[in-house]
Symmetry: C2
Subunit: 414 residues, 2 copies
């Protein structure tokens, strides 16, 4: 927006709207500082199309809450009086992400600059434990996280729980998660019960959706249409269009893109993940009793072992990888024609074998490009791997700050 001239007329609007506009402007300043670095009040006034006096008032409010601090003197490109640049601070607040996966529960808290202020992981055999036990362990981790964060004088703005399956963010429920056999699970209520009265806002999101947001943050810019394929035992997708999460189902693992006769954990036949899921690969390349199928060993270690065997040229491993790869390429071709992403990120367990899957998928997609005028979808391996969903959850939790910085208590209220 162009800078405003002081000669322009002003109009009066009522206070209901003012609070909304003020919160949005406060958040807008923080986003500018996060995405584009330190800048002066004059620069902010120009970029936000607001009078400098208004910016000064807003900045004062952010300074009071320690969400920005003053940095170096700037000459504002040689024009006007010099001013101090403003820098995003916010070391006193964070967003907390908690992930329940099929093999563990993870917690990660990020401050607005992306620094990790808490991180923890515990093994959790979600598929075998009762749901109450799963939430007892999850609640323990959440309580520990909140206590540690608070003891360091950091305010957790929101906790975002991510789980497999279809979630209902409005009700706070997991509607259905085939691989852990949850039906209509009131996840946020169960978590709230266990963390007690602590005043932290709770949200829920699907794990693959959250992970796709983290992949977008971790990737270079210009990948606004991104599809993340992820999974531990099964397969799920998260789709971003113009950088925004879509409420697509994402249950691609259960789409009938696999061998028609194979029975899936969900009770149906032909699901894609019966051919391309982590469990499918492991049971194809090793007999029961083999270390890569030993659930007491972490999945990371087992996948690292699979990769070692593949590199060593083990025929059974390479056959299994090729089988998964063929079915992966077919399903990704279908997904590409339906969704049309600029980038497909192979995350989760696929990222451990990306040397094999990425080139195969790229070749398959290139071969199906209809015309040279349309850019081919680029396939990349995730650098976040299994950490993406928890990181995405923390980013969603941190979104509370940019939506409404007035959630942060000023020192007088603390």
């Amino acid at each position: 927006m162009p800078p405003t001239s002081p000669a322009k007329p002003t109009v009066c609007i009522d206070a209901n709207r003012v609070a909304v506009v003020r919160r949005s402007n406060l958040g807008g300043i923080l986003k500018l500082l996060r995405d584009h670095g330190p800048r002066s009040r004059s620069q902010l006034a120009t970029e936000m199309g607001l009078p400098k006096a208004t910016i000064s008032t807003l900045v004062a409010e952010l300074l009071e809450r320690s969400l920005v601090r003053e940095g170096e003197l700037t000459r504002n490109q040689g024009l006007g009086r010099p001013g101090l640049t403003l820098v995003l601070d916010g070391s006193g607040v964070c967003g907390l992400g908690i992930e329940i996966s099929t093999t563990c529960v993870r917690g990660l808290a990020l401050d607005p600059l992306g620094s990790v202020v808490f991180e923890s992981q515990r093994p959790l055999d979600t598929t075998r434990l009762g749901i109450e036990e799963v939430f007892d362990i999850t609640g323990d981790l959440a309580r520990q996280a909140l206590a540690e964060i608070s003891s360091r004088g950091i305010q957790p703005l929101r906790l975002c729980l991510v789980t497999p399956g279809t979630v209902d963010p409005d009700r706070g429920d997991v509607v259905f998660a085939a691989n852990v056999a949850w039906h209509d699970t009131p996840a946020l209520a169960m978590l709230r019960q266990r963390i007690g009265r602590q005043s932290v806002d709770l949200r829920i999101e699907n794990d693959a959706h959250a992970a796709s947001l983290a992949e977008l943050t971790a990737s270079a810019a210009g990948m606004g249409n991104l599809l993340l394929l992820t999974g531990e035992s099964g397969v799920a997708a998260g789709v971003l269009i113009d950088g925004k999460l879509t409420r697509l189902n994402g249950e691609v693992g259960h789409a009938p893109l696999g061998p028609a006769d194979t029975v899936c954990a969900c009770g149906r036949r032909g699901c894609w993940e019966t051919a391309v899921g982590g469990n499918a690969l492991l049971s194809r390349i090793a007999d029961a009793g083999d270390t890569v199928r030993d659930h007491t060993v972490s999945l990371e270690e087992r996948l690292a072992e699979v990769r070692r065997r593949a590199i060593a040229g083990d025929a059974r491993t390479l056959d299994g990888v090729r089988y998964v790869s063929d079915h992966l390429c077919h399903g990704l071709s279908v997904l590409t024609d339906i969704v049309g992403p600029q980038v497909i990120v192979l995350g989760g367990y696929f990222s451990f074998l990306s040397d094999y899957f990425v080139p195969a998928a790229q070749t398959a997609l290139n071969a199906r490009v209809m015309t040279p005028v349309m850019a081919s979808t680029r396939v990349v391996g995730s650098s976040l791997g299994f950490a993406a969903a928890t990181r995405g959850a923390a980013e969603i939790a941190l979104g509370a700050l940019f939506d409404d910085p007035t959630l942060v208590r000023p020192p007088s209220d603390a």
Copy 2:
């Protein structure tokens, strides 16, 4: 929003924002009147959370532009002074949709109340004619439409062109349309050249995307997540999430969901439309020379004949319909697991045989529901058929009014 109290403080903001807020409030009033019927100024003030004085000023502006008119006296549910209800008018403005399909060019103009103010259709063998000829005929229709509309004193606010293929709305181009063999076609520039200097804003959209919007409007409420499958010779989809168009690729007809060995018009193998497209059905059920394969007969008439043969129990026709139906069910199952729509509308050529396709698809989707806690996707036949895309285009064009009612010239400027 709750009604505002006159005691609340007011704050001054600058004029840049005021114009944006004013346009948005003017459009908001029109949307309320369109979606929820006539209402008083007091009711509008309550619903929009604005002071009654502000509403009166905004309404005066809409009255001046003849976009609303005053109706009956209302007692406002017994409270306060009686006032006149306001009714959406706008009989002086319209949105114009123009569709280039593989068999014809269609034009439709709608006023804000949904009344048809112009309608025309001309046969167009888009696949055989040169692109300049196609745009000559399209330009003729557009000029005729604009002339007729203007001669009746109606202001066309926008013209939305819809075409098959992948479009780039920002550049105004068709990036690629396999079935008409267009590559990087500057569609809006070619249309602008032919309609001359007439000051009408031009937009472009994919035909299936536009059609899905029209299907949502035509359907009952509560179908915010809708997938429309449509097509004449081929197949395309439009996906709405929460009632909003997604920028999904929608090239589902060319997703590898068909028989692996069949060559498609796009040059690749295995495309879904080689099994489920209109051309696939017609060439399966009739030899060359049969009336249903005669391009000089309108597609509507040929499909009506196919339907008659199916009802009469013609074995070859029923075999062909069953073949299409089987492949349709498989692809819809995949689409459902990926997209997760509440409703799938079978439009385009499918709507002529919906007695056959709808029950088969519903049975297939019901059989794949993973759990009773998740509602099954409902399958319905389109009531708009081939008319949906043009209607959607006109609705998109009409969106200009609700985005910015100040586009409508007041009588003094006319």
